[in-house]
């Protein structure tokens, strides 16, 4: 069960011709796929395309009716390889992942797929995680398109246009026997909007038909001599076919403007921000009517030479808006202009910054630079922010950073608390991180972890240190998501085979939590159409690990002991500590409604919540430094004699017990208490409670009287 339920969206997947679909960009894509007659969809979740996978997971019935096969693939490589179905058969298929990280993983399969080419349309929907809020390295999918010769579509952030692009992508793929990337930027994925739907189409050829009468073409297999043939085909057949399709169908748009001596070339994905920035400078209106012609490049690769020449010739200068680096498009267009003897100046990087997201502010400054150079008489309207620039600069020390962190009650927190305490005792270790929620350990308050080399590569990332000798073996951290993605082989298998001695902590929280709580092999729940409940410890033992332990994360005492044993135990080969407890976000989502129902139905229920005695709190906040739980916060000290804020547990506490465990294990102050609230108490509860309250109340009254006598 994923973090978000998409029941409503699934209903929308059924709507037919003429009805209006309303929702986020990435959800509209799911409907567009069904309208395009896909036979199979696969992918690996990750922001910003997780919701695509989640909706399809929830849409089992709709997919079954249409005969569409859907897989939550084990990795992006597995998803990309799935597209092999379109090599011999006219089957349309789509695969999806977060880019560029997912594209890195998928590259092997993609290169093979692109070499042999496809018969059925293949669309690779990549969520381009670039710019603000991105959690990955800043690279471009564009490079992958170029190296494997796959086409790249970058539609404007508008739901109707995105849907249209999906359908065009399939057609382009089939017309040119080439897989196509549909690149959706992060804001496009989450953009809301509506479009008029069409009927869903069952696949033209069913998967069953294909397997019943298999077809084979040795020329499609990447082996010599066919592989040399593929290279020729790419250049002589597929490229020209793509160019023809793109031109004939007007995939790129030439938008008119009054003043024709200047022009702007912009990839579709940046078009809307460009228009708003131009509008602010008085160079366009809200409807996109601009002063200069604009070439909206919805297919940044391949560049259509004729269109470029047509657009640029007779212009003094053209501004190119190309986000990210290297500036592939600029290099490409410059070559085209040179080859066609067009002397128009191409203004790109330099006027725009080489690196970084092109926000509206960046575009505004670039436009001003362009205008200043080619229209010196033009005066930019005053920036309304100008008047308060000094004021804004003065705020820097007053706006604290807000790094992401582990959620309230997160079961990974006690693992890092234990690790921090172990390091306080034994000194610091080299810690190799991985991808997942657990990577937040590198931020305050834990501040631990040296590197992250990719999904499932935590253990492999520490392998060089394994023959270092010394008393401190490297510690690696891996999530269950990364473990099943490839960590079992490239991490654990690698360590067994090479007789490594390090410790791998596998965070086993029942879900791929960081990407939205998707199910995985070691998940504990029963999931329709999936096989779960395969324990991680069993898997690592199966691959040859001798020292493997599964410990419940919240037991800090046991966790510390196990960690200590693992790093001091020599010569037993790689150690694997499976830190097991369910992701709290998902657990709460599962349990909260049940608890509410129990309480409402009169069933005896105990709920726990923690608190801090402000009178005994020292204001030292060691508890926070060992936790970082969002619900463990501070408030001004109510004691007139004390100035330091006291710790305080706010009402988002889920009663996981970590604060209390930390107070015990780290020997902190005696301020923490656990409240056990009994709802719908039984007769015995009530009787005992009355008895105890009466006696304790009497004692308290006596003490209070004595205190007042002395006061």
């Amino acid at each position: 069960m994923a973090e978000r339920s998409f029941k409503k969206e699934v209903e929308q997947l059924r709507i037919g011709e003429g009805e209006v679909f309303s929702g986020e960009g990435i959800l509209a894509v799911t409907k567009a796929l069904l309208q395009s007659g896909v036979a199979y969809v696969g992918g690996y979740q990750g922001a910003p395309i997780s919701h695509l996978m989640d909706v399809l997971s929830d849409a089992r019935d709709v997919l079954d009716e249409l005969g569409v096969h859907f897989e939550a693939s084990a990795s992006e490589a597995a998803a990309a390889a799935m597209a092999a179905a379109s090599v011999n058969y006219p089957l349309r298929g789509a695969v999806t992942w977060k880019s560029t990280v997912g594209t890195n993983v998928a590259s092997d399969a993609l290169a093979n797929l692109a070499s042999g080419g496809v018969k059925g349309g293949v669309v690779v929907i990549v969520g381009e995680d670039y710019g603000e809020g991105s959690s990955i390295m800043q690279e471009r999918t564009h490079a992958f398109a170029m190296k494997s010769q796959m086409w790249l579509i970058d539609p404007p952030p508008n739901v109707a246009r995105i849907v249209e692009s999906v359908e065009q992508a399939f057609e382009l793929s089939e017309a040119s026997n080439t897989p196509v990337f549909l690149q959706l930027r992060i804001r496009s994925c989450h953009v809301s909007g509506r479009f008029t739907a069409r009927d869903n189409r069952p696949p033209a050829l069913s998967l069953k038909d294909a397997t019943e009468s298999p077809q084979r073409d040795v020329d499609r297999i990447v082996l010599p001599p066919a592989s040399f043939l593929h290279e020729q085909e790419k250049i002589n057949k597929r490229w020209p076919a793509a160019v023809k399709f793109i031109r004939d169908n007007g995939l790129n748009k030439m938008l008119p403007g009054e003043q024709e001596n200047l022009g702007i070339i912009v990839p579709g994905g940046l078009y809307n921000t460009l228009i708003r920035s131009m509008e602010r400078l008085g160079l366009a209106d809200a409807f996109g009517n601009a002063r200069f012609p604009i070439y909206q490049m919805n297919v940044p690769y391949p560049v259509i030479d004729d269109e470029i020449v047509e657009f640029c010739q007779d212009k003094d200068a053209v501004l190119l808006v190309e986000e990210g680096q290297p500036n592939y498009i600029e290099q490409n267009i410059n070559t085209v202009l040179r080859q066609h003897d067009v002397s128009t100046k191409l203004i790109g990087k330099g006027t725009f910054p080489m690196a970084g997201e092109y926000t509206s502010e960046v575009l505004r400054n670039g436009l001003i630079g362009f205008m200043a150079r080619f229209e010196p008489d033009w005066v930019a309207p005053q920036d309304p922010g100008h008047a308060i620039a000094a004021l804004v600069a003065g705020l820097n020390p007053h706006v604290p950073p807000r790094p992401p962190g582990l959620c309230t009650g997160c079961p990974e927190r006690p693992v890092f608390t234990s690790l921090k305490m172990m390091q306080q005792e034994l000194g610091d270790f080299h810690i190799s991180g991985d991808i997942g929620c657990h990577l937040f350990s590198i931020l305050p308050p834990f501040n631990m972890g040296n590197t992250t080399m990719g999904y499932g590569l935590g253990t492999a990332g520490a392998s060089a240190f394994n023959s270092a000798g010394g008393s401190k073996p490297p510690i690696s951290i891996m999530g269950d998501g990364g473990f099943w993605h490839n960590g079992l082989t490239s991490g654990i298998g690698n360590a067994v085979f090479n007789k490594n001695d390090g410790l791998t902590i596998v965070i086993d929280n029942n879900y791929a939590a960081a990407t939205g709580g998707q199910d995985l092999l070691s998940g504990k729940g029963e999931v329709r159409d999936r096989s779960t409940q395969h324990p991680i410890e069993k898997a690592v033992r199966g691959i040859g690990v001798r020292w493997a332990k599964t410990v419940k994360t919240y037991d800090i005492g046991k966790m510390r002991a196990a960690l200590k044993e693992a790093v001091t135990n020599k010569g037993d080969g790689p150690k694997v500590l499976v830190a097991q407890s369910e992701c709290m976000l998902n657990r709460q989502r599962r349990e909260k409604p049940l608890v509410r129902k129990d309480i409402a139905s009169g069933k005896r229920t105990i709920q726990e919540r923690f608190g801090v005695d402000e009178q005994t709190c020292t204001g030292d906040h060691a508890c926070i430094r060992l936790s970082g739980c969002p619900s463990l916060t501070i408030k001004p000290n109510p004691d007139p004699l004390k100035t330091q804020p006291v710790s305080y547990v706010d009402n988002s506490c889920v009663g996981c017990g970590n604060c209390g465990e930390v107070a015990h294990e780290a020997v902190l102050c005696p301020s923490f208490y656990k409240g056990q609230i009994i709802y719908n108490p039984g007769g015995l509860d009530r009787f005992l409670w009355r008895l105890r309250s009466r006696f304790i109340g009497w004692m308290q009254q006596r003490a209070e009287q004595r205190r007042l006598r002395m006061a």
Binding site: F440, P630, N651, K674
Partner: protein, 518 residues
């Protein structure tokens, strides 16, 4: 186009930026706004960048609205941006005070353009929370900047509004937006969207009402405490005759500037131990007052005596096991716990305390000579290990648990004989002695005395915190004596700051080493 008069303004989309923290319901709020717009003749588009921000970070949502009739007139749809354009944001919503600062920093709030709606409450960031002392960042400058930067500024505590109406903060914010008039929709339109949402309608409407009220009052910035600045201490009330007598003595003996702090201190000492103890406290404060006056007959502020009055009270009323037991068993405390747990009058709710008494705490509570000998004995330490080596949970709502602690609290009358009392008295005498010596010496810097008085504040708490604080205090005092007299105050302050900079003491050790190198 673009920059001009009001009538052109209508040809441009209305842009809204919402800065929300994880869990504040920014998504819900955004959806309401889109629904309201679409049901009231507007085209709307929203987007956001969640990324890793969905795990507790801050997220910016962008909503754009455009009148549908005008789009129909033009025969095409407007181009909506996915990025709020600085200088062109009509409405900015910040669900927390520091986020208001972030909105201004991002350039979203501009004069003559932006209506800014902020909740004045704080959600402390991890750097503020994890500081070893007071890490709270003062928000008064943000308040000031918001007043100057916005066309209209609406600010009140929306989290409190949500609490009081038993609702969520996004509902309160929606009410404030409705009241602000920044969007072209009437109140009914907003309420209709909440009803159409179909979830938690009653409580959301209550939250909306609270927000609408708060927004209508538009009392920008009132009631925002700058909580990082030192609070003013008022004269307390005594609860009985002994307290009255102490307060009378204070009024008679001590200068006005010191009275309130000394009164709090004396009453604390009275409650902590007895009348004699409170008297002893006042004797010690009086001594410092007299010395400060000797030094400067025109003294009015008595900043040294004030600080001594504060620190001395905390040091004399140190938290030993007896004190903790007394606090944990008091009726008042039980009431405040039940309040925190939000339970009804007769509802059973157990309270489980987390203790980890160590061998050291045991020795502290024993008679001085026994405690001292036991502490030095390795064998005793080993013997008691199984008993004291682990955390203990005591349920104070059970008879046995309560009695254990109540009996421990009874040891109060023998407190003066305990080992900890002896060591604490030794520490205090030494501390006061140093302060006296400095203030008496006309050649010494009186600021050094104040710095010493403040420095003892790091000796507090239990276990590691206490030991670490004590060790660093002693090192600072020793180090300050090695430098020239005029540098001593600065040395103490610098090292005190270094001592609070990091738990592992690296910054502190560096500070000490830098000093030795000089």
């Amino acid at each position: 186009m673009g920059t001009g008069s009001m009538e052109q303004k209508f040809e441009r989309p209305i842009t809204v930026a919402i800065l929300a923290l994880g869990g504040q319901g920014g998504g819900v709020l955004t959806k309401w706004l889109v629904d309201i717009a679409q049901s009231n003749g507007y085209l709307a588009q929203s987007t956001y960048v969640a990324g890793v921000a969905q795990r507790t970070g801050a997220t910016v949502y962008c909503v754009e609205l455009f009148p549908q009739a005008q789009a129909q007139q033009m025969g095409r749809e407007p181009v909506f941006t996915t990025y709020p354009v600085p200088g062109d944001v009509d409405l900015v919503v910040a669900g927390e005070m520091a986020e208001t600062g972030r909105a201004i920093q991002k350039g979203f709030v501009t004069p003559n353009v932006t209506t800014l709606i902020s909740s004045t409450h704080r959600v402390y960031s991890i750097t503020e929370k994890s500081a070893m002392g007071d890490g709270i960042i003062d928000q008064a400058p943000v308040m000031e900047a918001a007043r100057k930067a916005a066309r209209k500024f609406i600010a009140f505590d929306m989290a409190a509004g949500a609490d009081q109406s038993n609702s969520i903060i996004s509902a309160v914010i929606l009410g404030a937006i409705a009241a602000s008039g920044a969007l072209p929709f009437g109140r009914e339109a907003y309420e209709a969207a909440i009803r159409a949402g179909g979830r938690a309608v009653e409580s959301n409407l209550a939250g909306f009402e609270a927000g609408y009220q708060g927004g209508s009052q538009t009392v920008a910035g009132q009631g925002v405490a700058s909580i990082s600045s030192r609070k003013a201490v008022a004269m307390p009330q005594a609860e009985g005759l002994n307290g009255e007598a102490l307060l009378a003595r204070i009024r008679e003996e001590l200068p006005p500037a010191v009275q309130a702090m000394a009164a709090h201190g004396a009453l604390r000492a009275l409650e902590y131990q007895d009348v004699a103890y409170a008297g002893q406290y006042l004797d010690r404060v009086s001594e410092v007052v007299a010395l400060e006056q000797d030094r400067n007959p025109a003294e009015q502020e008595f900043s040294l005596a004030q600080e001594v009055a504060r620190q001395l009270a905390l040091q004399m009323c140190y938290e030993d096991t007896i004190r903790v037991a007394e606090i944990k068993t008091s009726g008042q405390r039980m009431q405040s716990v039940r309040q925190h747990l939000n339970v009804s009058a007769q509802q059973p709710a157990h309270v489980v305390e987390y203790f980890h008494p160590r061998f050291e705490e045991l020795c502290d509570t024993l008679p001085a000579s026994l405690g001292r000998r036991l502490l030095a004995s390795q064998r005793a330490r080993r013997w008691f290990k199984p008993l004291l080596g682990k955390g203990r949970n005591i349920t104070t709502t059970n008879l046995s648990g309560y009695l254990q602690l109540a009996l421990l609290a009874k040891l109060k009358r023998w407190r003066r004989g305990t080992y900890r009392f002896a060591t604490q008295t030794h520490l205090l005498d030494d501390w006061l002695g140093r302060i006296h010596a400095v203030i008496k010496d006309d050649g010494a810097d009186p600021d050094y005395a104040l710095a010493l008085a403040q420095c003892i504040g790091m000796v507090k708490g239990y276990g590691d915190t206490y030991e670490r604080g004590l060790e660093r205090y002693q090192k600072i005092v020793a180090a300050s004596e090695k430098v020239a007299p005029e540098q001593r105050a600065a040395t103490v302050r610098r090292l005190s700051q270094a001592a609070l900079a990091s738990e592992d003491g690296k910054v502190f050790e560096q500070g000490l080493m830098a000093m030795e190198a000089h």
